[in-house]
């Protein structure tokens, strides 16, 4: 190849005596164009790979939820693009760096264990009696059923008799008809960041599961287990089917209410109901929850507990410690008449009993609520909400002795597990207390740091119960139906009549919660505490007072809602937490990232700069970029490529730009090593140049002292900015052009950018793409600059993404004139944003700057 170029170079310099044949000249040109194409493809793959790495890094640090499909997808994208980069370099360098293919393979092998699905297989029995379950079998029966089984085995406490359909049973079902693969595919192809798509996905997945047939052996096992239960609990016994997902307690995460439970199910409907409960794994609430907490989909095997129904006189939830005061000695019992369901789903206010520990325990306080309705077993099937007579509505749901009995049970559970517990119980018709579940209590433990009690601010609304502490601010938004949830704006204050679990998917993007009903024992309160979203429940008149009230500040600690933004209260709130941190999905991403993102190859002139020393995909990317540039521009020039690469001049001045003509970018043959700007026929290059030169650059903006320090600190910590890194390419700026095409690679000061545009007569082929990264200041300033540029470009039809300090912008399909206009805007942006990052710390500077840039840009098209 070098020989060809030498020949071509000689020939163009005219040092060869014989003129070449037109055919030979054309062959050389075609070969050269091929190299340019390879280089362009390498750059495109390079940009795509960096884009993937940036998004992986962002996911690792940020607050946006992601699942295993994201991690796998990004790894596959990264590997495919890096392969493309290596392939194109191989073409450019005649296979000189093909050792990189091997390196890529090795790195891929290192990534693989982090992203491979854990295939559990079907190993155990499909069904297991509860009495045989225990914590040693948690992987087979799920945490909930395992702990119930343990209680029977070790404590002899009363639980309903029953059996569990195991994780093996679940996997048997999922493997039949390749159900799991189809579910995975649908999850990947949907855009899970959009709530409406998530809705559609959720219902499609549930539909798939309901439509799938149960394999025969699983069917038989379930029906046989039910017949054994009938022998124990009576013929035709109704059952409660409860989800018991494997790993649901692994993170101390509160899964309560995520999955469906069905009460009072007759024997002949167990099979269908089992499928419904498995399908509820893909309910919207549960999917969002797993996503925000980083729980891999395949890690959740849905075991289902099937227990004889307790026709409860009363029931509820008890905490062995007050969740808002976990170090205190109180046991909290929440109870209602009838089935405990109302307490769990927050349908109405329960009685709240505070019991002091001691010998004996003592009922310290009883808040008896009015409970005008209750849930009971329906004679036909399922359960029914029925009215209760007025004298019963105001009566306590439990006697003092029963409260103390429940409290003692909760305390026993805490002692047994060595951790505060959250138990669900029912009062059987014979007066006995039946334990329905016990799990670790999710504490909130922030009461001591509460905001000052009297702020003296105007108050919109006050009262209620603090279900999750803290202060939050946002626009009040009332949700009454599911469609309201779809319109729920990010960062708003959720206002609802009931603290219903169906609002839980919104909590990851909610500033605060205010509900008219509900208690701290409900599911929504649990999830709010987990997410650190302040929640105030049981506030009468909340809907009327807050709907349309605009921005409000919810002070859950002091049970008040203030109009507007109360900065003095918000200043006290803790930093938002990274919900993904410590989750299995986060760990998988971190594990994969370690082989993708770090950059170890820093100095291209060092002897270590070899394919063998590429330890990550980023190393390979960096290596290839450097080498491809050398192949194209340095080795090429030595080989006589200067015949193609010409320095740009403007009259008498030589500019720091070089131009490579791909075929018809000049207005005719250009002799020598220089090309004047007037000879450029490339539309996009002319437009770009117009933008670059329309307004003179005033030099670097004045940086305040902090901005300057930020630059120094940024420069010291950023290996890309080491002076030794500067390759020859770094100080040259290259245009590759043809009549309708232009690609500009440039490095201005500390920032690197690429502009590429196609602007011809066919709008469908036209596009503009722009990438911009780097800077010398600290990350917040660089990011702030990227956001400023993003704002400018979005107003001009670009699709823009900002990841950390990198900006990617693209637009397609506009006609020639409109495309060229956008290219000119980029020309302006390229020149006028250099070193802007230094000034970005200061709001007083950003505003006027933005205005000036808007004005300049408006002048461009005129």
């Amino acid at each position: 190849m070098a020989g060809i170029f030498r020949a071509l170079g000689n020939l163009l310099r005219g040092s060869r005596p014989e003129p070449p044949s037109p055919a030979r000249l054309e062959a050389l040109r075609a070969e050269y164009r091929g190299r340019c194409e390879s280089f362009r493809r390498l750059l495109a793959a390079n940009n795509a790979a960096l884009d993937v790495m940036a998004s992986m890094e962002e996911a690792l640090r940020g607050q946006k939820p992601f699942g295993m499909t994201f991690v796998r997808g990004q790894c596959a994208r990264a590997a495919a693009n890096v392969f493309q980069i290596v392939r194109q370099l191989s073409i450019l360098a005649n296979g000189r760096y093909d050792a990189l293919f091997e390196r890529l393979k090795e790195i891929q092998a290192a990534i693989a264990p982090h992203v491979e699905p854990h295939s559990g297989g079907v190993a155990g029995p499909l069904v297991l009696p509860l009495a045989e379950a225990g914590v040693d079998l948690a992987d087979e029966v799920g945490g909930k059923m395992a702990s119930l089984g343990e209680i029977v085995r070790r404590l002899g406490r009363r639980i309903p008799p029953g059996f569990a359909v195991t994780a093996s049973g679940y996997r048997r079902f999922m493997e039949a008809s390749d159900l799991q693969a189809e579910i995975d595919r649908r999850i990947q192809t949907a855009d899970a960041s959009r709530l409406d798509e998530l809705f559609a996905l959720s219902s499609a997945l549930q539909g798939l599961i309901l439509a799938a047939p149960l394999p025969g052996d699983l069917k038989r096992a379930i029906l046989e287990a039910y017949r054994s239960l009938e022998v124990q609990a009576g013929e035709g016994v109704r059952v409660a089917l409860r989800s018991s997902a494997v790993g649901e307690d692994a993170l101390g995460a509160s899964f309560a209410g995520q999955y469906q439970s069905e009460l009072n199910v007759p024997g002949d409907e167990i099979l269908e109901t089992y499928k419904e409960i498995v399908a509820s794994k893909y309910g919207l609430t549960a999917m969002t929850y797993r996503l925000t907490r980083g729980i891999p989909d395949e890690d959740v095997a849905m075991c289902v507990g099937c227990m004889a129904m307790v026709g409860a006189e009363a029931g509820g939830v008890a905490y062995s410690r007050d969740p808002l005061d976990i170090r205190g000695g109180a046991v909290v019992v929440n109870a209602v008449h009838g089935l405990p369901k109302a307490v769990v789903d927050g349908s109405f206010d329960p009685d709240v009993f505070m019991v002091e520990r001691g010998e004996p325990m003592r009922l310290a306080r009883a808040e008896v609520a009015r409970k005008p309705t209750k849930y009971v077993c329906d004679p036909a099937q399922g359960i029914a909400l029925v009215d209760v007579p007025p004298e019963e509505a105001g009566a306590p749901s439990l006697t003092e002795a029963q409260v103390l009995g429940v409290a003692a049970l909760a305390a026993d559970m805490e002692e047994f597990y060595g951790l505060p517990q959250d138990i669900e119980f029912a009062l059987a018709p014979d007066g006995g207390i039946v334990l329905l579940q016990s799990r670790p209590l999710h504490e909130s433990g922030r009461r001591e740091e509460a905001a000052p009690s009297d702020s003296g601010l105007p108050v919109l609304l006050s009262g209620g119960t603090t279900a999750a502490p803290g202060v939050g601010c946002g626009a009040a938004f009332a949700v009454r139906k599911d469609a309201d949830a779809l319109r729920f704006p990010d960062g708003a204050v959720l206002v609802a009549a009931q603290a219903h679990p169906r609002w839980a998917p919104l909590l990851s993007r909610t500033a605060a919660v205010v509900c008219e009903a509900g208690s701290a024992a409900g599911h929504l309160a649990n999830v709010a505490r987990e997410y650190g979203v302040p929640a105030l429940l049981g506030v009468a008149g909340a809907l009327e007072a807050l709907d349309g009230a605009g921005e409000v500040t919810v002070d859950a600690d002091n049970r008040r809602v203030h109009p507007g933004r109360a900065e003095e209260l918000l200043a006290l709130r803790p930093a938002p937490r990274n919900l993904m941190e410590g989750s299995p999905v986060h760990a998988a991403l971190a594990g994969a990232c370690a082989h993708v993102v770090p950059l170890n190859l820093i100095d291209p002139d060092a002897p270590e700069f070899t394919p063998e020393n590429c330890r990550t995909l980023h190393d390979i990317t960096r290596f290839c970029h450097e080498k491809s540039v050398r192949e194209m521009f340095l080795e090429g020039e030595q080989a006589g490529l200067e015949g193609f690469s010409k320095q740009l001049t403007c009259g008498k001045s030589k500019l720091k730009y070089w131009v490579i003509d791909l075929e018809d970018g000049f207005d005719g043959p250009v002799e020598g090593r220089f090309v004047d700007i007037t000879r450029i026929a490339s539309g996009p290059m002319r437009a770009l140049w117009r933008g670059m030169t329309a307004v003179p650059w005033a030099g670097p903006p004045a940086a305040d002292a902090r901005g300057f320090l930020a630059v120094v600190a940024g420069a010291a910590s950023n290996p890309e900015l080491e002076p030794t890194v500067a390759s020859a390419f770094a100080v040259k700026n290259y245009f590759m052009i043809s009549r309708d095409f232009c690609n500009l690679q440039s490095r201005f000061g500390f920032h690197f950018c690429t502009v590429e545009a196609q602007a011809g007569d066919d709008p469908q082929e036209n596009y503009v793409s722009f990438q911009f990264k780097g800077g010398a200041a600290d990350l917040p300033r660089r990011r702030s600059r990227a956001l400023l540029v993003a704002g400018l470009l979005e107003e001009r039809d670009f699709r823009v993404e900002v990841r950390e300090d990198a900006l990617f912008a693209r637009l397609e399909g506009l006609d020639k004139a409109a495309t060229l206009d956008r290219v000119a805007v980029l020309g302006y942006v390229v020149i006028h944003t250099r070193q802007l990052d230094m000034a970005m710390g200061n709001e007083a500077v950003i505003g006027p700057l933005r205005e000036k840039m808007e004005k300049d840009i408006a002048g461009l098209s005129g």
């Binding site: 495919a80 392939r87 992203v115 990947q188 192809t189 469908q764 397609e812």
Partner: protein
């Protein structure tokens, strides 16, 4: 330009055909690898867009045979099942690129045009 779309999901084929048709591409569809090979033998195809996971002959095997039949044909892999090993294997077998669903239609068209450019079908 003539595109062969291979995917076992008929909904996807219909949607893509409609969209590509609107952009003046000629589209032939196949819902299995076998059908894709037959189509390639019959029709002058410029670029193939191939799903990876299909019942019967999988995408990777289809790619292998397509390349054996017509080494110069450019094949873009487009899949709903992200898998790093398959991505690299496909690239090794000479796939032009590997894309994941969902893909923006403009990005796909851009990729198709670039593939056609490489195979000399578009200048």
């Amino acid at each position: 330009m003539h595109i062969l779309l291979v995917d076992d999901e008929t909904e996807f084929l219909e949607l893509m055909t409609k969209r590509l048709d609107r952009r003046n591409f000629q589209v032939t569809t196949a819902s299995t690898g076998e059908a894709a090979l037959e189509a390639l033998a019959r029709i002058p195809v410029d670029v193939v867009v191939l799903d990876v996971r299909m019942p019967g002959m999988g995408g990777i095997e289809t790619l292998r045979r397509l390349k054996a039949m017509a080494p110069d044909i450019e094949v873009i892999l487009l899949t709903g099942h992200a898998n790093m090993e398959v991505a690299v294997e496909g690239m090794e077998l000479g796939a032009f690129d590997y894309l994941l669903k969902p893909v923006a239609i403009n990005d796909l068209i851009f990729k198709i045009q670039d593939a056609a450019k490489k195979s000399g079908k578009l200048t």
